[in-house]
């Protein structure tokens, strides 16, 4: 079991309030991602759940039990750190065995569990090595191995992939998702990378300045962002947020159009513009278009065109937003 509830949790360092007042329910077996810009309090929130930081006020419950004042080890959680935090003087085997040894498990049981974990994580051939002799991805797998042998009620991941190169990040992302499907244990994952959030999460918690902006499934957040912050944060490339005349037409203060929801034409459309930069990805082309005669508060509009598009810098094009998929926001930044 791994149901986690946060009730009116707040955290301040001296006079600086990091998390003002936060309520959140995480269901058993969920893959929850905390996402937000740096300094939004997502890592602090994870550390509060882990018990590595004390809450200033509020209650944290795990499976209904109040653990607010309990030591990290007593909470039955396992954590994977950004820097891996492996014990450099111990072999891979000893690193993975460490939590079991601390729990006073029997030696044969430790041996079996460590070897099982090593098999799952493809580390069998590296058990005698020291962390210093492993690659980044292998180190991260050892850190995960150390977490899974304890059979915790929930896993906590603190930006675990940010030290890896892009290719490895993709592979490890998949491995963690597969691990979740296999173990069906609650996982809380902190990242600033919204691609990781979208691809891995059952539920995303978007944080900004210690406040929850929105909680929902990746597609819910993509389809109906509750406010301008979420609209701008979720989705890659970013949603185009236009104000002024373009927005008034739709009786809103601001409108949001995702790059993939703009129709391109060479002859007619709502907004006329010139192609500035064209980024060719092969499968798609991202066009950065300078719209003419429009007071919309953005210096360019990003458009996603399918395939190679056949458009070059300097070309004049017309853009029309898909009215069905257009987002409208009021003066307070909340979706209308």
């Amino acid at each position: 079991m791994g149901k986690i509830n946060l009730e009116h949790v707040s955290k301040s360092f001296g006079v600086t309030s990091i998390i003002p007042d936060l309520n959140l329910d995480i269901e058993d077996g969920e893959f929850v991602v905390f996402v937000g810009p740096s300094g939004c309090g997502k890592s602090t929130l994870l550390r509060l759940i882990a018990g590595l930081e004390d809450v200033t006020s509020g209650t944290i419950r795990i499976d209904g039990r109040d653990v607010t004042q309990e030591a990290p080890a007593k909470r039955g959680l396992a954590m994977v750190f950004q820097s891996y935090a492996l014990y450099p003087h111990m072999s891979v085997y000893k690193n993975i065995a460490f939590p079991l040894k601390m729990a006073g498990e029997d030696k044969t049981l430790i041996d079996r569990k460590v070897k099982d974990a090593a098999k799952v994580l493809n580390l069998t051939n590296y058990l005698d090595r020291r962390p210093g002799q492993l690659s980044g991805g292998q180190r991260q797998r050892v850190a995960i191995g150390r977490a899974i042998v304890r059979q915790p009620s929930a896993f906590l991941f603190d930006e675990p992939l940010s030290n890896l190169d892009a290719a490895l990040r993709g592979t490890m992302r998949l491995e963690i998702s597969e691990l979740h499907q296999q173990l069906k244990t609650t996982m809380i994952y902190v990242t600033h990378d919204q691609v990781e959030a979208m691809t891995m999460a059952d539920k995303i918690v978007v944080l900004n300045a210690g406040n929850i902006e929105q909680v929902g499934s990746p597609l819910e957040l993509y389809r109906s962002p509750r406010n301008l912050f979420v609209a701008g944060f979720i989705g890659s490339p970013r949603m185009n947020l236009l104000s002024g005349a373009a927005a008034s037409k739709y009786s809103a203060e601001t409108i949001g159009v995702r790059p993939e929801h703009l129709l391109i034409s060479r002859t007619e459309g709502d907004w006329k513009g010139t192609v500035g930069v064209a980024e060719h990805l092969g499968s798609d082309t991202f066009l950065h278009v300078h719209a003419e005669g429009m007071d919309h508060g953005m210096d360019h509009i990003t458009v996603r065109a399918e395939g190679e598009a056949g458009l070059n810098p300097g070309d004049t094009i017309y853009l029309t937003p898909d009215a069905q998929k257009l987002h409208r926001f009021g003066k307070d930044g909340i979706a209308l």
Binding site: L52, A73, F81, S83, Y87, M102
Partner: protein, 274 residues
Amino acid sequence: MARTASTGQKIAWTVVAWVIALVIFFPILYTIITSFKTEPEAIAGISLIPSGTFQNYIDVETQRDYFRPFMNSVIISLGSTVLALIVAIPAAWSMAFSPTRRTKDILMWMLSTKMMPAVAVLVPIYLLFRDWGLLDSRIGLTVMLTLINLPIVVWMLYTYFREIPGEILEASRMDGASLWNEIIYVLTPMAVPGIASTLLLNIILAWNEAFWTIRLTTTNAAPLTAFIASFSSPQGLFWAKLSAASTMAIAPILIMGWFSQRQLVRGLTFGAVK
């Protein structure tokens, strides 16, 4: 672009480095050479070729007891080092892992005691030693050297402990390690290289300490520094014997330093570069 040096430049720099090294090493070398000369040879003037006599060593060993000051040096330098580590490890530990607003000030204050000339407190310390019956005692000297080197030991250990990433300690806490287990299984093994080089450096400092050892001892607790000094006696200076005594005094520490130079260099430059 990487800087490249021509062969000529490399040779020139090698020669310069050797010359500097020889100049620095020359006093020790000349002491060793002189120890193999006869007394008339020793006072005759600068000469690099000794007659190769061992008589000075025999004289030093038979006329004066070398073993006693040697043992005093061993006991005092090891004892003061162990004592200093016992006090400094917990001190550096708490300052590195649970610093307060005043930690930096405390560290600076400790270091500032090293900025004062030792002679400034000679009289009060001498009187205290006299009143407490510590003059010419190994215990008194051990405590004295512990206190003298403590700031440096705390500083070195503090720098070492600061290099241990906090996340590793947090990971061990998550893994269920108690404070005691954390110290035994995680912190200490990671700090061992740092503790070892601090230990080595402190032994060397304590072994070579001459100001207090000469002033607070006469015969019973006199270590090798006092033993060398005793060769400059009212009967006159015996250069060759003095050199033999000096060579015997520095030999143990020179050998130890030679074999542990890697740890020492690492210890002294630790924390300078990441």
